[in-house]
């Protein structure tokens, strides 16, 4: 059977909605299984690896403990209360993965002076220069910095991006990289400096601007319900992106924003540009404003059209999802009126 054989003409809107959910669920199922069929990498399965995850009871720590467990490793979690036995727990490990909150990463790494010479030392912190430098200083053996670009809520690592910063004796950690690869993770190999430079935009500036935007709305006493009732799908989505940040813990966002003081300069340049462009609005200089627009459009190049296309598809999905939800709530309202 193929997609062409299925005829949809008889289905109602509600049934089409159900079918869409079924298709999405089935796709996720297939993608999940195709990502895990070959999950034990050849080299990892040859001999059982002993893995210690420091902070393995944290949310992302648990995720990696499960992953290593499933692939046949012998996994131990090392928590705050276990440091008395740390020497014994750590010394025979093939991999020590540091999965602790970002603000204690450096001090935890500094305690790892007892690893065996060929033990791989790795971390999963959102910044890379400082943790990688600290690992290289403390441990004379193989070192690799990782940054999983996803939260603990994802169902599988398949299709998710993991940034890999190889720092010393890469051959020793090749089994770990192969293992992530065999699970379907997308691996991006860069230096720690390149990582931090990119993250200044991907994480720090975006998170920070979003926090400011939320504070601004609150302090301007904006009426959310009114705004939503008058929003196009695109603005509704943008507002949802702001609100979703505030539904989560402030700790992680604060730590990411504060982790690298070097970013303050870049964020000050953002204000300068904002001020420069706003003065064009204030002096009604449309001509220069459009020139700035054109320069940036040129910089985006082929990506401008590609992004327009990509976001339009998603927005039309958002509109369809919303409108079927609105219909549902309309029905509820009507039945309440009975």
């Amino acid at each position: 059977m193929s997609a062409e054989d299925i005829c949809l003409d008889q289905l109602s809107l509600a049934d089409l909605e159900k079918l869409q959910q079924k298709v999405l669920a089935r796709k996720a199922e297939l993608e999940l299984s195709s990502g895990t069929t070959n999950k034990i990498s050849p080299s990892a399965s040859e001999q059982i690896q002993k893995v210690v995850v420091i902070g393995g009871e944290g949310q992302l720590g648990q995720f990696f403990c499960r992953l290593f467990n499933e692939s046949g490793c012998d996994v131990t979690s090392l928590e705050k209360q276990d440091w008395a036995d740390a020497e014994q727990i750590l010394k025979s490990a093939n991999l020590v993965l540091v999965a602790v909150p970002i603000h204690v990463t450096e001090s935890i790494i500094n305690r790892l002076t007892m690893l065996s010479a060929d033990c791989v030392l790795a971390d999963i912190t959102s910044i890379k220069t400082i943790p990688v430098e600290t690992m290289l200083k403390v441990h004379p053996g193989p070192v690799v910095g990782l940054h999983p670009m996803f939260g603990p809520g994802v169902e599988s690592i398949s299709g998710q991006t993991v940034v890999v910063c190889q720092a010393r004796m890469a051959a020793h950690s090749s089994w770990l990289i192969e293992l992530l690869n065999s699970y379907g993770a997308k691996l991006v190999k860069v230096t720690a400096a390149e990582h931090d430079q990119t993250m200044a935009f991907v994480q720090v500036l975006r998170h920070f601007s979003t926090v400011v935007y939320g504070c601004h709305l609150a302090e301007e006493s904006v009426d959310i319900e009114q705004v939503l009732s008058m929003s196009s799908p695109i603005y509704r989505l943008e507002l949802a992106m702001v609100g979703r940040l505030f539904a989560q813990s402030s700790d992680l966002y604060t730590e990411i924003i504060f982790a690298n003081p070097q970013n303050v300069g870049m964020m000050k340049r953002y204000i300068e540009r904002y001020t420069r462009l706003l003065s064009l609005v204030e002096t009604n200089d449309k001509k220069r404003f459009k020139r700035e627009f054109a320069t940036t459009r040129h910089w985006f190049g082929k990506y401008a059209e590609q992004f327009l296309d990509e976001s339009s598809k998603l927005l039309s999905q958002a509109r369809l999802t919303r409108s079927s939800e609105d219909n549902k709530s309309d029905q509820v309202k009507e039945s309440n009126n009975d």
Copy 2:
């Protein structure tokens, strides 16, 4: 047949992808037809209305000409070259809809001194206070300001929001409102002042911040490809939202941003808040930063969780769509290697 009867177990990922597209297309088809089945409103069909759309050959003008045509009105478009005959074209109209670019709206309205006393004068400009005030001044009859919250690219007005600012003799424009309603538009009735206050955030601040963010990326010489390769789905989407603006004409965005000089003050307060929060980062004052976060979280209230939920659903759809596109391009790469 219902959605439950369709079994998906035999379908490949590629077939599921095709089916998903078919379902979306069929849903859009059904929604379109359900929006137009009852398209002629009772009062509009009783007698043929004579409608003049000024700027009816513009993109959104064409959209409204089609809509009025389909509902049985007698529609004339009045363009630049037709002003010599304007007196005759306009004097017997029941509705004159101003659909010209925002920066000429006011001057065009000022020419409409010859309408008959019961002719409805309406506009579709993105700002409302100035056009509505000008219409009230020029025309002694019924006046209503409209703001369609969608672009000319949408397939149907069904499910789209239209802001309605009633200004004088609302009973005379009730047939127009009923007509929009019968097409499935979501009508939001507010005053012109309320509209402009909300749009300061929904349109002006968001568009302006997006322009600045794009300029900032360009001037910081960010490597888009590297950023994309290291982006989580959420950041990819946010970047796409920036790029999509630059794929479009700068005229409309410039006019919207420049239309209401009152917004400059509000945008300056945004800079003040940005600077205040950035100084907390510079002085490493995490405690006060988290307090600001908590205050804003409290302001979002129930919407924080709702937005998290809503955007998460959309992001997981975005991830699935992307990953099937990535698979396609991987296949292309492989076949090129042969």
